[in-house]
C-alpha cells in the first residue's frame, strides 16, 4: 500500500501549492500550532468577552457615566471582562514579534542545523524553488494570523472605547488593524534572513529579536522625522486624543515655532528666571486623527519594502551558502 503517494506527482498540478503548504506546516508543526492556536484562542476569547459584555448590558458601563459607578460595573464579572479586554489589547503589541520569530526563524535555520536542507538541496536542483516552497506559506500564514489579531484588536478597541471612530483616530496605532499583520510579516522576514545566515535556530531567535528592536527604533525615528514635516501645530492643550502626538515645541515672540533647545538658545535669560507661558505658548506637533489611514498605509508599505528586502537577503543567502 502506498497511501499518500498518489499525491506525489511532479510540481505543476493545481493542488501542489496546497500539498506544499501542508508539508511546510508539518515540518514546522510545533511553531504553527502555537501561532495558529494563539490566534484562534485570542479570537475566541475576544468574541466571547464581547458577546458577554453586550448581552449582559455591561457596555453601558463605558458609555453612561452615571451607570459606570453602579455595583454592576464596579463588582462581579464586569471588571474582569474589561480587564481581559485590556489585557488582550496589550498582548497584541507582542503578538507579531513572537509569531514572526517563531515562524520565520526556524524556516531555514533549523533545516541547516538538522541537515534537512542538505537533503532538500540535493534533491531539488533549484534552491530558490525550495526557499519559496518553504518561506511563502509560512510568511502568508504569519501575515494572516497577524491580520486576524489586528482586526480582533480593532473590534476590542471599539468595544472598550465606544465613542471613538476607528478610521479617524491614532488610538491603538501599530497595535490594531492591518499593521499587526504587516509587523508580523516583517519580523518573520528578519528572522528568516538571520536564520539563513546563521544557520542555527536559537541564536537566530535571539539575534532577530535584537535586530527587530533596532529596526523598530529606526523605523519609528525616520517616520517621526517624516511626519514632523507634515505635522499640524496646535496649542498643547488643544490637541485631541485621536491625534498622533509627535513633539513639543514653543512659539517664539516673533511667531516662529522652535524647539526647546532653540528657544533657550535664543533666550538664555530664561534658563535662570523662567518665562511667562502666556507670552510663549506651548505648541504640540500632531498628525490629525483624520489622517490615520494615510499614515497607516504609508507605514505598511515601508514595512513591506523592508520585509521584502530581508526576504531577498534570505533568498540570496540560501542560493549562495553551503549546507552544513
Amino acid at each position: 500500500m502506498t497511501p499518500r503517494l498518489s499525491a506525489a506527482r511532479p510540481a505543476g498540478a493545481s493542488w501542489v501549492p496546497l500539498r506544499i503548504a501542508y508539508l511546510t506546516f508539518r515540518i514546522q508543526r510545533f511553531e504553527w500550532t502555537i501561532v495558529v492556536g494563539a490566534t484562534f484562542l485570542s479570537v475566541l476569547v475576544s468574541a466571547l468577552v464581547a458577546a458577554w459584555i453586550r448581552s449582559a448590558g455591561f457596555d453601558k458601563c463605558l458609555t453612561d457615566d452615571a451607570f459606570s459607578t453602579t455595583l454592576t460595573c464596579q463588582t462581579g464579572v464586569a471588571p474582569w471582562l474589561f480587564r481581559i479586554t485590556g489585557l488582550s489589547l496589550n498582548l497584541v503589541v507582542i503578538f507579531p514579534i513572537i509569531a514572526g520569530l517563531l515562524i520565520g526563524g526556524p524556516i531555514v535555520a533549523r533545516e541547516l542545523e538538522t541537515g534537512t536542507a542538505r537533503l532538500a538541496w540535493s534533491l531539488g536542483p533549484s534552491r530558490l524553488h525550495w526557499f519559496l516552497q518553504r518561506a511563502v506559506p509560512a510568511l502568508v500564514m504569519v501575515t494572516l494570523a497577524g491580520l486576524v489579531i489586528g482586526l480582533t484588536a480593532d473590534a476590542l478597541l471599539q468595544l472598550s472605547r465606544p465613542g471613538i471612530d476607528l478610521d479617524q483616530t491614532f488610538i491603538g496605532f501599530r497595535a490594531r488593524g492591518p499593521l499587526v499583520g504587516v509587523n508580523a510579516l516583517v519580523v518573520a522576514s528578519v528572522a528568516l534572513a538571520v536564520g539563513s545566515i546563521i544557520g542555527r535556530a536559537v541564536p537566530t531567535l535571539i539575534l532577530s529579536l535584537i535586530l527587530v528592536g533596532v529596526l523598530a527604533q529606526a523605523v519609528d525615528k525616520v517616520e517621526t522625522q517624516l511626519l514632523t514635516n507634515e505635522a499640524v501645530a496646535t496649542r498643547s492643550f488643544n490637541y485631541a486624543g485621536d491625534d498622533y502626538y509627535l513633539a513639543s515645541r514653543i512659539q517664539n515672540d516673533d511667531g516662529r515655532i522652535v524647539t526647546w533647545e532653540e528657544f533657550y538658545a535664543l533666550h538664555p535669560e530664561f534658563n535662570e528666571n523662567g518665562y511667562n507661558p502666556d507670552d510663549y505658548p506651548d505648541i504640540a506637533l500632531v498628525i490629525p486623527g483624520s489622517r490615520y489611514h494615510d499614515v497607516e498605509r504609508r507605514e505598511a508599505l515601508a514595512l513591506l519594502a523592508i520585509g521584502g528586502l530581508f526576504v531577498l537577503v534570505a533568498a540570496a543567502t540560501v542560493v549562495r551558502r553551503r549546507p552544513r
Binding site: L119, A120, W121
Partner: protein, 301 residues
Amino acid sequence: MTAVLEAHGFGKRYRRRTWALRGVDLTVPEGTITALVGPNGSGKSTLIRAWIGFERATEGRLSTGGIDPQRDRKGAVERVGYVPQSPSLYRDLTIADHVALAGTLRAGFDAPMAADYVERLSIPLRAKAGELSGGEQAQVGLALALATRAPILLLDEPLASLDPLARREFLHLMVEAVRASGATALLSSHVITDIEQACDRLVVLGKGHTLLDVSVAEALSHHRVVEATATEAVEVAGVDAFVGAFPAPAGEPLALVRAPVVAPAGSPPIGRAATLEEVVIGHLAAGRRRAIDAAAAEAAA
C-alpha cells in the same frame, strides 16, 4: 571509458589555513561503482560535496557529468543522487511525506519507485522519520536518491550507522539499482569488506592526496603481503615494490608490496595474496609515511 566524475588539481582550503584536500587528480569512469576510501579527515566528504556543488574549490577544477559544479550547480545537482554521511530526514514527516516532498522539489522524481524501494526494505511508508533507526533512515535516503533516476550516485559514508544486515541490504539495493540503470556510483566508506563485494573500482585518499586509483581486481592481483618489517620487506621485494608497513591485528609486522605483473620464471611469488583491506591499509600507511617525511623536509628547509 568516459569519465563522469573528474577532479583535476582539486584543492579545498578551509578558513584560509587548513587544506582539506590538495592536488587531487581523480576520474570515475561511467557505469562503475567506485569505492572512495580514506581515514577520517582525508577529504572524502569534501570531495563528494564539491562534486554536488556544496563546496567551492580553492584551486583546480571538477566535473560532474560534464558539468562544472561551481559554474552550474543546478546542472550538477540534476545529474546527482546524493546520500549524505548522516541521515537527515524531517523527523515529523512520514516517509510518504518525504517521497511527496521530493516529488515537489525535483522534476522527474519517481515517487512509485521510491515507495517500492522503501517497502522492499520493510520500512512502513506511514512511519515518521523520527521513529526510524539510523540505518533505516539511511536506507530511506538511498531510496530517495535512487528515485531521482540521476545518472550519478554519490554516497558519503552511508554505511557508517548501519548494522551488518542493514549494510548488506543497503549495498544490495544500491548495486542492483545502479546495475539496472547503468548509473555510476561513488561510495565513500570505511567498511572494506562490504566494498569488496559491491564495488568494481577503488580509490584510496590519504591526507588530501590520491594514494591509489585502480580496479578492485587490479588492487587484489597486483599486491601481496609479506610477514616482515619494512626493512625486511624492502630487502625481499626491492625498494620500488615496497608500499607500506603496518601491524597485523595480533601485532606482528606486515608489509604490503607490489606484485610484479609478470612473475620471473621459476621463482615463486613472494608472501601471500593481499586482502583488499590490507591493500588499503598498506597504501594509507605509505601515505602517512610520505606526509611525515614531507613535513620533516619542509621543517628542515
